[in-house]
């Protein structure tokens, strides 16, 4: 049987990552826009990396993941559904994409039991929802995406521990997305005094 005290042990925190570089903050005004932003970002991701999605229930993590997975070549007729119950959905694209949800995971030992490290070693992109449930299983080179906000719009913060040249590549794509979003904002919402 399990020992309840193990649950009270101090857990590693995501904030314990050093060398985390801030990349950008942007605002998405709808779920489709969040999906589009993720799709644009997908092209700049290195072939093997972890994308950690942080945000409350209903923040739009699966929506963001869907944008990346579609951009990696999963056609529209294949549904990209929440992996909460099954823990992981694998997509057979040219470069494999694994969509994890650690919502029902309480530590990294559980991830070992379901073969998470095998998935990591296969290479490809590992998208992880609820990474804070097993922070010590998040590798040192990760893109962190923090989604927050209520109502329709979301503020999305990007941080990374990825080294160069991936760092510059992602930053430049994010800069392009930010300027595109600002353009649209100017046309639609800017009212002269």
């Amino acid at each position: 049987m399990t020992q309840p005290e193990s649950n009270q042990m101090e857990k590693p925190q995501l904030s314990s990552f050093t060398n985390t570089a801030f990349l950008a903050t942007l605002v998405s005004r709808s779920a489709p826009e969040t999906e589009k932003i993720a799709g644009e970002l997908a092209a700049s991701l290195p072939a093997n990396c972890v994308v950690a999605l942080i945000g409350d229930l209903g923040a739009g993590k699966t929506c963001f993941a869907r944008g990346i997975i579609r951009a990696k070549g999963v056609p529209g007729h294949i549904p990209i559904t929440s992996p909460t119950f099954v823990i992981v959905n694998a997509y057979d694209t040219e470069n494999p994409v694994f969509h994890f949800d650690w919502y029902r995971i309480s530590d990294s030992l559980e991830l070992d039991a379901i073969g998470y490290r095998d998935f990591l070693e296969q290479g490809g992109i590992c998208i992880v929802e609820w990474p804070q449930n097993a922070p010590d299983a998040i590798p040192k080179e990760t893109l962190f995406v923090h989604i927050h906000g209520l109502g329709e719009s979301r503020t999305i913060d990007f941080y990374t521990t990825l080294p160069e040249p991936a760092l510059t590549e992602i930053r430049s794509v994010l800069t392009q997305i930010v300027s595109r979003l600002l353009d649209v904002t100017d046309i639609n919402q800017h009212t002269p005094p």
Partner: protein, 354 residues
């Protein structure tokens, strides 16, 4: 009468069952892990996975003992090969293979979702006079991991009519419950507190209700409940408020499930509708679907509760149906498939994208 042993370990439950070739369920054992999981406020798969290994043999032994059966009374072993968690599936498959080898029994690989779709072919042990599923029918399977509508023309002949595009209905129940701080399992908690609530108190969105297809979306409901809770302020929820929010969220889920199931029955011109999967235990859903089916003059078959949540009786049942057709799986070809899709050839390695 010879029997089929069914083994199910696709996700959280370790289960074994003995079903006679005629369809009589002799035993149906589920090593329910809820007491262990409840302490953590959610199902813990590592415990489940470890428990599969620890509990599979006692569960199989208990299934045989309570069926008053020895190994010589078995005709074959049926086992779930997917979809599910790969490590969990492998425990059941390796157990089935070893037992089949030791006792010289044939193996039958079973699709977990297909087993849910056909579970209502078993008669209700408490009410044997109730109708059982007889093809052609429309089946709604709603659980924590699946939400889809199927047309069933015969064993092995299924058409997917629609499915969820994001969250499963059971997941929506669980996450709404979690946001309100209700205890695990969330679906059960919502069902219970909703009885005191007003289902029309809050107009939560009915995802894809207007869409012409039979697909579902429950992600928007989750976001709507989150926004509702954030807007009302941080003071504690009263029990009346909890009941109203739960009842309203439940009504939003039930409305869509019932409406799309009825639309499917009409469109497919079938005389029977079958409700299955863990969410089929929800009282409001059972009551509303039964009423609508009565209005539509369609027979409703509510899968008996013990065959709704993950269980091995449904696996043994499908096993006996394949057995009667002489369809077996060679041990070499029997493998686990996390992404198995209903209708895929059993025992043949199907690589799908994804």
């Amino acid at each position: 009468m010879k029997c089929i042993l069914g083994i199910e370990t696709s996700c959280d439950e370790t289960a074994a069952s003995v079903v006679e070739l005629t369809g009589t369920v002799r035993s149906n054992v589920v090593a329910t892990q809820i007491p262990v999981h409840a302490r953590y406020g959610g199902v813990v798969p590592e415990l489940a996975s470890r428990n599969h290994v620890m509990s599979i043999l006692p569960v199989v032994r208990e299934a045989l003992n309570s069926a008053y059966l020895s190994w010589s009374g078995l005709a074959a072993i049926a086992v779930t090969q997917g979809p599910g968690l790969i490590g969990a599936l492998l425990v059941g498959i390796q157990t089935a293979k070893s037992l089949a080898y030791a006792f010289k029994l044939p193996l039958i690989a079973v699709d977990h979702v297909e087993a849910h779709v056909t579970a209502a072919m078993l008669s209700n042990p408490k009410h044997p006079e109730m109708p059982t599923a007889t093809p052609p029918y429309v089946a709604m399977v709603a659980s924590g991991g699946h939400t889809a509508l199927y047309r069933v023309d015969a064993i092995g002949n299924y058409t997917v009519l629609g499915h969820t595009l994001d969250d499963a209905a059971g997941e929506a129940f669980d996450k709404v419950a979690k946001m309100m701080g209700l205890p695990y399992p969330g679906g059960l908690a919502i069902d219970r507190v909703s009885r005191e609530g007003n289902p029309a108190a809050i107009a939560f969105p009915r995802g894809m209700m207007g869409a012409a297809n039979l697909d579902f979306s429950f992600s928007g409901l989750k976001t709507a409940v989150r926004n509702y809770l954030a807007n009302r302020g941080s003071f504690p929820l009263s029990s009346i408020e909890i009941a109203d929010i739960a009842a309203s969220a439940q009504e939003a889920i039930v409305d869509v499930l019932v409406e799309k199931t009825i639309r499917a029955a009409r469109g497919e011109h079938v005389r029977q509708v079958v409700l299955s999967g863990g969410v089929a235990a929800n009282h409001r859903l059972r009551e509303r679907l039964s009423r609508r089916c009565e209005e539509e003059q369609v027979q409703v078959v509510l899968t008996p509760l013990e065959y709704c949540t993950d269980n091995a009786a449904m696996v043994a049942n499908l096993g006996r149906l394949f057995y009667s057709r002489g369809e077996f799986t060679s041990p070499d070809a029997l493998d686990a498939y996390a992404n198995l899709r209903i209708g895929s050839p059993r025992g043949i390695r199907v690589r799908e994208s994804p």
